[in-house]
Symmetry: C2
Subunit: 147 residues, 2 copies
DNA sequence: CCTCTATGGTCAAGCTGCTTGACTATGTTG
DNA sequence: CAACATAGTCAAGCAGCTTGACCATAGAGG
């Protein structure tokens, strides 16, 4: 593969990612929830028994201060709440509220809708192979904004 | 595919995109050029005979004011220059300088390096299929930041 | 040919989401 | 219990974008 092709491949990947983020965001909004794309990534971390602000920051690849601001926003919108942390009086456990879980489901539906559109273009088997390939190259580390 | 799988697929795609952007940015920096990830997308548009500020804004999915600020930055760093537009005295033609073309090549090399790492994980044939699949689902419209 | 509207570009102000730095409260270790 | 580490917040600052206002030139219709 030539270098220029690699850049074209990269551009295609970034363009697809941007488009996907936009579609999910729109889909969530269309279901009556207001939010930013980073909500979804926060929710996936919180879904399993909650997390502290610091853990959330690590997951999202931002400082704990930025994570704290995000949590402020999520609390204000009623998606999460800060509970005292069992076993560490310094920390707080951030957990999803019922509305937060509803918003998570809305994000899942919106994502499924977007992915289904790809399925129509690619066919089911190629979609499966795309999923497998992405799973193998996706980093395990924090999720970071693209630019 | 279940909804939760679709969200996981989406997360994988966004994570891969973020990681890729970071690697290209690092690779470009390691070759002695300072920049932001959006430079690469601007360069691919400018590479073919230049563009006006407004056209660049459309390509990047931002306002013409934001595009103008980006061009200011690129001029300051010596990557592009503003020439009078032949045939429209209102407009300026933004073109790459020699250093801008060098930076473009550096971005291509960095992208190739990152993609090569994927090739080692996936194998060449699967990498080709990934490229084809992405080409088919990538939107034709402007490239947008992921979040 | 001349007005009227559309378009390319810039300037200025403001906003959002992040950063760094400083600080308090609590936990942990020797 | 002294000393250091860690969870969280507050505050200030910054980068990159937006909206709004404006000027210069282009293009269309009388």
């Amino acid at each position: 593969m030539q270098n220029s092709e690699a850049l074209a491949l990269s551009a295609a990947l970034l363009a697809a990612a941007g488009e996907l983020a936009r579609r999910i965001d729109d889909g969530v909004a269309a279901r009556g929830f207001e939010g930013r794309p980073s909500y979804g990534f926060a929710f996936t971390r919180l879904a399993r028994g909650g997390a502290t602000v610091t853990e959330l920051g690590v997951h999202l690849g931002v400082t704990k201060q930025a994570a704290s601001q995000l949590v402020d926003e999520l609390v204000r919108k009623g998606y999460v709440e800060r509970l005292p942390h069992p076993g560490d009086a310094r920390a707080r456990l951030i957990v999803l509220t019922e509305r937060g879980r509803e918003c998570t489901r809305a994000a899942e539906e919106a994502a499924a809708e977007a992915v289904r559109a790809w399925g129509e273009v690619l066919g089911e088997d190629q979609l499966d192979s795309l999923r497998d390939q992405l799973a193998r190259i996706a980093p395990s580390g924090p999720i970071r904004p693209v630019w």
